[in-house]
């Protein structure tokens, strides 16, 4: 027990130093495995195991045992119980048991004005019944469904919180949580579940004024959503970025950036740094990223690590770039060489922690031996 506590404190120090702009004793590592991977890795059935959150602890333990990480490497983001109760149209279990989201339209074109006037009211009244079939009914039924769903949700989150605490204690992980809060860029919250990818792409051409106003109206909502009850300078609010790479620069500049920047600044004012998953390729927007508040954590999927280090390395905390697809198709040596290559570019001078370019979502997304080898290599060799 004491050994593990000491290990936790050591690892916490690595991340505190990273966040404080000091150079940690070695390159910190944050492995990222989805609960679906953990379930499959433990040899369990994905269509069954997600229903018993109590049973997830021994399942997650197997991943923790075999894959090195300084922070808790596995977490569950979406679980089926409350989605099923609500009759979710937007979060659906695929044939393999993996929850995905089909294109949905939670916000109709004619709902824009209501959203701009009061986003939360519009979400409760118009959006949720479109996304969740069991809420598309009379008010009595709706209140019963919401009661059940809310109970299921708080049960799941409570179980998970307890499990995470146990795992952190058992494996000596650092006491730093980059998923302490969660929200989206205002443009993304309007896009993903509300208008849908196709509709928003067309709205940008047909009704850009409404898109702009909607993003502005959603901004205080996102700041509030992303601020946890106990803000801490060493935790972060997770923001997965989505639509920007698919837009023209002019549209990004007018419709995506201003409200997103305000959101990150608003979170900072509330005591939270942002942890951005910079999905796809943001290299043409790199100068914008440089404008964000100092110490923003950015995990990159694609792009140019050298350029990112040069332009953002002194101000922000960088991670990512390591391709999960290489873990799938490469040899062990190629995988290790890639890690070395990235560390050589990104680590010097600090401001970097090792992480893959995306969460490893299923067992067949990556070769397990390669993954272990890379994490072990970085743990044993990556110093500043």
């Amino acid at each position: 027990m004491t050994d593990m506590l000491a290990l936790s404190q050591e690892r916490t120090q690595l991340f505190h130093d990273l966040i404080d702009g000091k150079i940690p004793k070695k390159v910190p590592i944050s492995g990222s495995f989805a609960h679906e991977f953990a379930i499959q890795y433990a040899g369990k059935d994905l269509t069954e195991a997600q229903w018993d959150t109590d049973g997830l602890e021994p399942i997650f333990e197997k991943t923790c045992q075999d894959f090195y990480s300084d922070l808790l490497p596995v977490s569950a983001f979406r679980l089926p119980s409350f989605y099923k109760i609500l009759g979710s149209r937007n979060f659906v279990m695929g044939s393999s048991g993996f929850i995905q989201h089909p294109e949905v339209e939670g916000l109709a074109l004619e709902d824009y004005d209501a959203f701009i006037a009061s986003p939360f009211d519009c979400i409760v009244e118009r959006v949720l019944p479109k996304l969740y079939s069991k809420l598309d009914t009379d008010s009595t039924q709706k209140s019963m469904v919401m009661a059940k769903a809310f109970k299921a949700y708080t049960d799941e989150m409570g179980n998970l919180g307890r499990i995470y605490g146990n795992l952190i204690q058992k494996f000596g992980y650092g006491f730093v949580n980059f998923y302490s809060g969660f929200c989206e860029a205002p443009f993304d919250i309007i896009s993903d579940q509300l208008r849908g990818f196709k509709n928003i792409s067309i709205d940008v051409r047909r009704v850009p004024d409404k898109v702009e106003a909607a993003a502005e109206a959603a901004t205080p909502l996102m700041i509030k959503m992303g601020t946890p009850p106990n803000p801490s300078p060493y935790n972060a609010t997770f923001i997965p970025l989505h639509m920007a790479p698919y837009l023209r620069g002019k549209d990004f500049e007018r419709l995506y950036w201003p409200s997103f920047k305000k959101t990150v600044e608003g979170l900072k004012a509330n005591g939270m740094r942002s942890f951005l998953f910079v999905e796809n390729d943001w290299m043409r927007y790199i100068d914008y990223l440089a404008e964000l508040p100092e110490g923003t954590i950015m995990l990159f999927e694609y792009g140019d690590p050298k350029l990112v280090k040069e332009k953002l390395g002194k101000k922000h905390i960088i991670s990512g770039f390591y391709p999960v697809s290489l873990l799938k198709t490469g040899t062990k040596q190629q995988c290790i060489d890639k890690a070395k290559e990235l560390i050589d570019v990104l680590a010097p001078g600090g401001g970097y922690y090792f992480g893959f370019d995306k969460v490893i979502i299923t067992l067949d997304s990556a070769n397990v031996e390669n993954t272990k080898a890379v994490l072990d290599y970085v743990a044993e060799n990556a110093n500043y």
Binding site: G94, K198, L247, R284, L326, T329, K358, T362, D364
Partner: protein, 226 residues
């Protein structure tokens, strides 16, 4: 006649500029002025090609391709067009069968690819999302496409795509069809791993590849050793 010629040029420009209202308005005018539906389609196709080039030169992006696909569909829905659009099979340059592989339900890339491929003269058979390999095999057997397109965005689709190629091979169909894999995360190594003939990170380059195969095969059907 001259007016019609001017209109033709303008239609192409408006498609290129993604001016949806402008295109519909002018297309209707042109149809009233006597333009042949197939000719209008050719103009829209040309506009779509220009959009594709702007995408390749990184002036246009995915959202623009979606808009272009919508304009294409708008034109096909015009009254004077619906009767005419049934291009007979022999006029199509080739057939592509596409689907998103098992484990993935993303379909936007596949839809953009479909719009662009149709605009380029292909017949496209879309068998949907989360498609198991057995269904790919039976649909290839049934439809005998020139090209099989496998779509997938999630990283677990690499294994699923490999499974499809294997199943096609085991069914003795590998030599009858070219296989292209589509997805942002694909690389040459991944393509080799999957066993596909080619891969594309976006719809535009995918359609280009398919055109290349058809043209090198003399316009009718494609053999795997081309």
């Amino acid at each position: 006649m001259e007016d019609l010629k001017k209109m033709e040029g303008k239609i192409i420009d408006l498609v290129e500029q993604l001016d949806e209202d402008g295109v519909i308005r002018l297309a209707n005018q042109a149809l009233d002025a006597g333009i042949q539906p197939l000719r209008l389609l050719e103009l829209v196709d040309e506009g779509m090609n220009r959009v594709g080039k702007l995408y390749e030169s990184k002036e246009y992006f995915i959202a623009d391709l979606i808009m272009a696909g919508l304009i294409f569909k708008d034109i096909l829905k015009l009254e004077k067009m619906t009767a005419q659009f049934e291009r007979s099979y022999s006029e199509r340059i080739g057939t592509i069968l596409i689907g998103t592989v098992k484990g993935d339900i993303h379909d936007i890339g596949k839809e953009i690819f479909r719009s662009m491929a149709e605009a380029n003269g292909f017949q496209v058979i879309d068998i949907g999302v989360d498609v198991p390999k057995e269904l790919f095999v039976s649909k290839v057997l049934e439809n005998k496409p020139d090209i099989l397109g496998l779509s997938g965005v999630l990283t677990n689709t690499i294994e699923a795509m490999r499974g499809v190629v294997e199943a096609i091979t085991v069914a003795g169909l590998r030599d009858t069809v070219r296989i292209i894999a589509g997805g942002n995360h694909l690389t040459e190594d991944v393509c080799r791993f999957i066993g596909a003939d080619s891969y594309a990170n976006d719809a535009s380059s995918g359609v280009k590849r398919c055109r290349g195969w058809i043209c090198s095969a003399g316009g009718k059907g494609v053999r795997a050793d081309d």
